[in-house]
């Protein structure tokens, strides 16, 4: 068991300067994420979830954003980790390229990172297999449902085998049944690939269903209000109606309510 944490955040604060006002978005955030774990961040709307997401992914923020504290992804700065192809992103919208079919959409990062054609084919077919998308490999995005498109975008995120998967409310646009289906899919993928996953969500049910650890973010200026460890077995389809499950839901809901006022 090596000691490098997947994510290590210490005393992270983020301020936005603009229009004469200072906005303190994140304040003294501290948490660690171990490799191979599944974690969720949940919080009221308008808390700095997206800002935190952008900072962790190594994406540039607006110029007016001042950061203090440290973020380390696999021991490196997020931008470096990103350059070393260790971060995969799944955003709220699938954002597939409509002029490419499913397999070329998945292959997009591989093309840019200059993998050989054979390597690309190999990785893409492995992913299509993992995601049960084999028969859809030549479909265009416009021919797929929202849930399927998100599956493809997950495949694209996994194409270059990143250690860390950052997901920002990827299933928010789906209805309950399809959302649950996708939740089961992502758990299946996680257990097979053993990636580290940090999942941002609005839904208490989703947070409890998916993760080993739930971090509740308070409203602005956001801190980690509470970290809850979910000690349930996978797969959780069997126990989602059990009383232990509901106990966790109540717990998370309680802390979320506190964090929102």
């Amino acid at each position: 068991m090596d000691n490098i944490k997947a994510i290590e955040v210490k005393k992270l604060s983020a301020d936005f300067k603009g229009g004469g006002k200072d906005l303190n978005v994140l304040s003294n955030i501290n948490f660690t994420i171990s490799k191979g774990s599944f974690n969720c961040i949940i919080g009221p709307s308008g808390c700095g979830k997206s800002t935190l997401f952008r900072l962790l992914s190594g994406l540039p923020t607006r110029d007016s954003c001042k950061i203090s504290g440290s973020i380390r992804v696999l021991g490196k700065k997020p931008e470096t980790a990103s350059k070393h192809r260790e971060i995969g992103l799944v955003l709220q919208k699938p954002t597939l390229l409509e002029w490419r079919d499913v397999q070329s959409n998945i292959a997009l990062p591989l093309e840019i990172m200059e993998y050989t054609k054979e390597k690309q084919k190999e990785k893409v077919s492995k992913l299509l297999n993992l995601l049960d998308l084999d028969e859809y490999s030549e479909y265009r995005p416009s021919e797929l449902s929202g849930g399927m498109q998100q599956k493809v975008s997950i495949g694209r995120a996994l194409a270059y085998d990143p250690e860390l998967l950052l997901m920002d409310e990827p299933f928010g646009a789906l209805d309950e049944i399809n959302r649950r289906k996708m939740n089961n899919e992502i758990i299946k993928i996680w257990r097979k690939t053993k990636k580290t996953i940090l999942f941002i969500t609005h839904s208490i049910d989703e947070a409890v269903y998916l993760s080993q650890k739930v971090m509740v973010l308070s409203k602005k200026p956001s801190t980690i209000h509470k970290t809850i460890n979910i000690d349930l077995q996978y797969p959780r389809e069997k126990i989602e109606n059990s009383s232990t499950y509901f106990k966790y839901i109540k717990e998370v809901r309680g802390y979320l309510n506190e964090a929102s006022y």
């Binding site: 603009g18 229009g19 004469g20 006002k21």
Partner: protein
């Protein structure tokens, strides 16, 4: 988040950055004119090929100090007037056609060949045959201007109506069965954005059409015909001045429409889903 409130209305012109822009443009134009003058004089380029700015000013002097009844300016305004009539008529009829096209695919299929023909048969070629039917007067000219500009309007309106999100239509249907009410409260407002965006294009096309049609129709009071005549009579400074005047009119018209568009879209959110 604080949103900077922009100065609006007349004060728009007195904002510092705009004054700087205007000053820069004037400076640029002056330098341009001086360079132009110098190059022509130095290389002795004859007036009939490229006139100097002084030639143009001389012509302007002659034209306006002789107090004739029709100058290049009055002719340009005359052409612009026709363009304006065509502009509004085209928007009106085009919208009507667009609405009709959106009603059923069959109607669309019936009208489509005729609309397509208005595009593919070039208006200058159509002018003489239309003049044989409708005469050589203003009616034919306006008719041709409308034919020239109508197709994009009809298409954009049709698409805008077909693209009204279904939930809005359903919502309105729960309030009323009266088709007129739905028309007034849903369809009309949703026509505003496409009309505003196509207006700019129609502004230019209507002026282009008025010039084009004046040639075969021999419209004596129009600037198009005037340019044609002066060109054939080698009155090149007159040609240049006419082109500049009608271009300025066109620019101003276009800017007015752009300004109007910006005003309406920021103040009212008609038809924005």
């Amino acid at each position: 988040m604080i949103i900077q409130k922009d100065l609006s209305g007349l004060f728009f012109w007195f904002k510092k950055s705009n004054l700087v822009k205007i000053f820069k443009t004037i400076l640029f134009l002056t330098i341009l004119l001086l360079t132009w003058e110098l190059i022509i004089t130095k290389f002795n380029i004859p007036k009939r090929i490229i006139p100097k700015p002084t030639d143009l000013f001389n012509f302007l002097q002659q034209e306006f100090l002789n107090s004739k009844s029709t100058t290049v300016l009055t002719k340009s305004i005359f052409s612009f007037k026709d363009a304006l009539i065509g502009f509004f008529l085209s928007l009106l009829v085009g919208t009507g056609i667009g609405i009709t096209l959106s009603k059923s695919k069959t109607v669309d299929a019936i009208l489509f060949p005729f609309l397509f023909l208005t595009q593919i048969v070039p208006v200058p070629a159509l002018a003489p045959v239309l003049a044989a039917i409708l005469g050589y007067g203003q009616t034919t000219k306006i008719f041709l201007i409308v034919l020239f500009t109508i197709f994009p309007i009809a298409v954009i309106i049709k698409n805008a109506i077909l693209n009204i999100p279904e939930n809005y239509t359903l919502l309105l249907h729960t309030y009323t069965r009266k088709r007129f009410a739905i028309f007034k409260h849903l369809i009309l407002p949703s026509l505003v954005p496409p009309l505003l965006s196509i207006m700019k294009i129609v502004a230019t096309s209507s002026i282009v059409a008025t010039i084009i049609t004046e040639l075969p129709l021999s419209v004596k009071n129009g600037i198009g015909k005037d340019i044609y005549n002066s060109f054939n009579n080698q009155l090149i400074p007159r040609v240049w001045v006419s082109v500049i005047i009608i271009s300025i009119i066109s620019l101003l018209f276009f800017n007015c429409i752009s300004f109007f568009e910006k005003y309406i879209t920021t103040k009212y959110k008609y038809g924005q889903y």
